[in-house]
């Protein structure tokens, strides 16, 4: 299937993403969800604000997913990233990989999130009790 790639300001819909990758040959699904947590770097977080260079982000994600397809045969992948203000406990990113056997789903899902975090132009600003700052990795 064509991968599902969403960059959106709306809350992410895990159910819809899992449904999108379902198929009769799927035996294992690995879902990664990045969630806004209440503290980071010793600061108490109020919320995060995500920004992206959306066209390039989508293109880069497409490339990462294609690499995962070639390396692990991961044919059924969905990646969704939310932008804008995201509250504690809400998901900023969801990655779903469905494969016939589970090992490939684990490997591909982890590769996609690790590579996304380091190469895709999406930024986060931490808004804490002390002020706000764009995070540099």
């Amino acid at each position: 299937m064509e991968p599902v790639i969403q960059i959106t300001r709306e809350p992410l819909n895990r159910e819809a993403l899992v449904t999108a990758v379902a198929a009769p040959e799927v035996g294992g699904i690995v879902i990664f969800e990045g969630v806004v947590r209440n503290h980071a770097r010793g600061k108490q977080i109020r919320y995060l604000e995500y920004d992206a260079y959306p066209e390039m982000a989508e293109q880069q994600i497409r490339r990462i997913v294609e690499e995962a397809r070639q390396r692990w045969g991961a044919e059924r992948v969905a990646v969704a990233h939310r932008l804008g203000r995201i509250e504690i406990g809400e998901a900023s990113v969801i990655i779903v990989v469905a494969t016939p056997h589970r090992a490939e789903a684990f490997e591909a899902c982890r590769y996609i999130i690790d590579t996304l975090k380091t190469t895709v132009p999406i930024w986060k600003k931490e808004v804490s009790l002390d002020g706000e700052a764009w995070v540099e990795g």
């Binding site: 990045g34 066209e55 390039m56 999406i122 930024w123 540099e136 990795g137």
Partner: protein, 83 residues
């Protein structure tokens, strides 16, 4: 010639706008455009020194020569590492 510069995240906040059109001499490379922006917005200097460059949505080296209508974006460090 004219190029398009777009700003995101910290750069947008410093510059105070999403995008602008720059007029640069033929043969200007990315480093040249960066110098021009630093001259215009001195507060950009530290963040531009840490940024990667993208032209037309691809990462490029700083000596990449620009063409008419190129879309130039400086990519400040990505901060998603920890989560």
């Amino acid at each position: 010639m004219k190029i398009r510069v777009r700003y995101f995240a910290g750069l947008r906040e410093i510059v105070g706008q999403d995008a602008e059109t720059l007029t640069v001499p033929e043969g200007t490379d990315v480093a040249g455009a960066r110098a021009l922006l630093v001259a215009r917005y001195s507060r950009l200097q530290p963040i531009l020194e840490r940024s990667l460059c993208a032209v037309n949505r691809e990462y490029v080296p700083a000596d990449r020569v620009l063409q008419e209508d190129d879309e130039l974006v400086f990519i400040p460090p990505l901060g998603g590492g920890a989560a």
